[in-house]
Symmetry: C2
Subunit: 520 residues, 2 copies
């Protein structure tokens, strides 16, 4: 790292700051391991002791961040005149982002942090029970408490008091979203979501009215799980996931944890009749994993060595899951491999059948099971609802009605019960309001980045068809992974694609791909 500071004070403060930040990151990666182990390995009896270990790690990491010494070091660095002249230097990037998380962390009183932690853990428990029994009434008081606390948190963060709009004219929700995707605002999300929604609703309608009715040709073909495991592992390896620096395990809910670029762990789940879901899941988590493995290790533990935010992270998973893994060129390579692994089970099927099966469009109730075309409608519904919950224009008790109404309008589907309606996701129970839009932003970034990659790499389809994913990975490494947090999402997007995020690339992609599949 080239030296930029003029004063020895700033240099010293910076070193001190980075040592502390890296130490904090070790606590965080240890907390991640505790979590990974809990989901994959831990014997069931260990859960209570584990929660004590995890809380301690979080508490120590939080204390390390909010210490006044951090503020003093930040200030000493920011006083150095060199900083302004090198705004994209490693130091300036780290200081910009550390100031951001420090200020955020300092604005929320410790009592509120602890209260949110206490109430959300009770709320999750209530949610699990209520969802099983389809009993929204027993869940509602808990969700109300969470929403009230999270609104308080947003007020602290945005320093606005009892107002749905912050003084700068933004939405109170912005302060929450900023924690998942730095700089994210409701206004910016609306700028891309608003044109996307009607066109997507229209596209889905046209596809489902189309003359061809695609189906899942693998639906009634159970495939032994060990064979599935060997197959998906080979695919993950081929697209570039490095098993010397990573693992693939089984968990109830698939996830990916990057402790360090040299230790990235992803999970999936298997069902005998769910090969395509497992494959899609592994491609998705591999996308996250490739990002984590591709972050610059020399900057590990600092913002310069971290992912930009959840939207860009999601763009990487969607790139591999959808833009690669649901493309025809990919299947030209993958289909023979799949036959090799699962020969007996695939008898009579063709490449076209499998391509059609991985690209099935359906109106469905459950977000996590929905397809590439309808997925974003699920997200847009949640975005509108959480905005309303936060600004108080929607009360928790009216949530089911509002939810069902939006599913009717956007997806043309009747929600039969709250378990498959507004209680299907865990996010709000754990206080993660402001999170959902990052999924669709991820899809939008993926589409726009992929257009740029296609323009930059000659014969991308031919590479895929030959099972050669290295050119795409190299492009992502250089343009995204190696950048860490140097640029915020918006700037990164402009830098890579020449323009701000737009709904067009995703809509173009969906229209081009799905129209012929439906005979349009």
């Amino acid at each position: 790292m080239a030296e930029i500071f003029h004063t020895p004070q700033a240099r010293q403060a910076y070193d001190q700051l980075l040592a502390r930040v890296r130490e904090r990151s070790l606590l965080e990666s240890t907390a991640s391991l505790l979590w990974w182990d809990q989901e994959t390995m831990m014997p069931p009896g260990g859960v209570e002791h584990r929660s004590r270990q995890t809380s301690l790690m979080s508490r120590l990491a939080h204390q390390m961040l909010i210490d006044e010494e951090v503020g003093r070091c930040l200030q000493a660095c920011e006083d150095d005149p060199a900083l302004k002249s090198a705004p994209l230097s490693d130091q300036a990037v780290n200081l910009r982002e550390l100031r951001h998380v420090y200020d955020r962390a300092r604005r929320v009183p410790s009592e509120l942090v602890e209260e949110i932690s206490r109430v959300t853990s009770l709320c999750v428990h209530a949610w699990t029970q209520a969802r099983q029994k389809n009993d929204f009434a027993s869940f509602a008081p808990w969700l109300e408490q969470v929403v009230t606390l999270v609104r308080k948190q947003a007020q602290c963060l945005s320093a606005a008091e009892r107002a749905s709009e912050t003084p700068s004219g933004g939405h109170l929700w912005d302060a929450l979203a900023d924690g998942y995707e730095p700089g994210c605002t409701a206004a910016e999300v609306r700028r891309v979501f608003d044109p996307l929604r009607p066109r997507l609703v229209d596209l889905v309608q046209r596809l489902l009215d189309g003359p061809k009715k695609p189906k899942n040709h693998l639906a009634s073909r159970p495939i032994p799980i060990p064979a599935q495991q060997a197959f998906v592992r080979q695919v993950a390896q081929r697209i570039g996931f490095d098993f010397h620096r990573g693992r693939l395990d089984v968990s109830a809910h698939p996830f990916c944890s990057g402790f360090h670029p040299t230790d990235v762990r992803m999970t999936t789940r298997y069902r005998e009749d769910g090969l395509l879901e497992s494959l899609g899941g592994v491609l998705h988590e591999s996308g996250h994993g490739l990002y984590d493995q591709g972050l610059p290790p020399e900057h590990h533990g600092t913002p310069r060595g971290s992912a930009v935010g959840l939207a860009i992270h999601e763009s990487q998973s969607r790139t591999w899951e959808n833009f690669v893994g649901r493309s025809r060129p990919f299947w030209q390579w993958c289909w023979p491999l799949m036959q090799q692994h699962l020969d007996a089970q695939l008898d009579g099927l063709s490449l076209d059948d499998v391509y059609e099966s991985v690209n099935l469009v359906q109106r469905s109730l459950i977000r996590t099971e929905s397809d590439e075309a309808t997925y974003n409608l699920h997200i847009m519904i949640r975005f509108e609802l959480e905005l309303a919950l936060i600004d108080g224009s929607l009360s928790v008790r009216d949530l089911p009605g509002a939810w069902n109404e939006k599913y009717r309008a956007c997806l043309g589907i009747e929600v039969p019960d709250d378990a498959r309606g507004c209680m299907q996701d865990i996010h709000w129970s754990i206080g993660s309001l402001g999170y959902f839009p990052t999924y669709t932003l991820g899809n939008l970034y993926a589409a726009q980045f992929f257009q740029a990659a296609r323009a930059a790499i000659p014969d991308l389809d031919a590479h895929f068809a030959a099972g050669d994913f290295a050119p795409l990975l190299a492009w992502l490494r250089k343009n995204i992974h190696q950048q860490g947090m140097r640029h915020r999402s918006h700037d990164l997007c402009v830098m890579i694609t020449g323009r701000p995020l737009s709904a067009d690339p995703l809509l173009d992609h969906l229209t081009t791909k799905f129209s012929p599949l439906h005979g349009l």
Copy 2:
């Protein structure tokens, strides 16, 4: 926990102390998970980042212990008049042992702790290389450095300066052993080892000269590893290891880590021609695991909820490995189960053949591969040598000669090279001088405890033959596991068996079991 303190100051100081100690224990159990993961799950690339995580946990745990506030709390509690009248209360036990570890930790300067950590990690690396190349000369300078540093550590601990004997007349080595087995001294070890050695040398000689020559009947019968895994897991479960609160995995070197009584992880390794080693290994680690699962969970994180020391821990592993798992009644139950699992591979073998195979006595070079009868001779050799290294009467460069000479005298065997001689164990490379005797002390305690258990439980053999191990486990739970550190080893032994540790029970056991097997 009943209240015993008279003064509110003591009560408050005690609560504060325990909160801190429990927090420290969370850091330690997290460090244990980091280690377990490294040995069983971690992708190879993650090793460097892992070492940073582990060091941080150790450093934070150490800082939490040596803080002056701990000393102040200890003093405030110790000033309370109630303490002396209830020396076996939970509070008194905790204060006794916390004072012990606090004083030990405070006596060694942080710079020395760090220097030992730095040099031992380099020494282990040198040892790995040197052992592979059988090159003691390249290892010797590193071991010399370690011995010098560890001697310094012992001097700090015993507050003796540049003398091989401490002022109280003990050996400098005592201060090291005390870290593995509180209260352990060379004089006490010699009291039991000295009569044991000649009688053991004599017994081994007579056995090997006996008219019958037992052999390993499973030697040339490769057994598929999945079948071995299912079999040993069932045995572990049957003797009482609770898989709801534990796991069994594979690692290069078997070990057991108890993070908490509700989360205990053991490992073993498998070779197609090594079923008996795997089974013995799992019984051994299950013994450790049963102790860890049996510690009182309400006292977890405090001495009252911890194991007495390494010797008592080893007594538990040896109880199940040797006194149960190598007994004829155990095999009366286990042999049909083994046939059930491994039928095709065991054709033509009898119960007698297997019993003989698990009880083979041989003069051998490698401690970890040695049998129940010769094992302790390996330990006694190491004990004498490390005493001499610490008091300076043996220099590192003379170690191979001294080692080989002792193997000739005690085991009647020529050491062909240092890789299979004085470089076979990792212990000294990592600075663990004072550790080895706990293995044989464990065997001695196991024998003496087992005599007491046999006297207390009617028909113990009949229970084993019926696959009923619950009576023995209940006895161990009550007399040992549930006691935590209430009593030091010596007192525990007197309490359970009515007398101090003696060499007789082990010698009686070995003579009674092995004589008929050798036709004596």
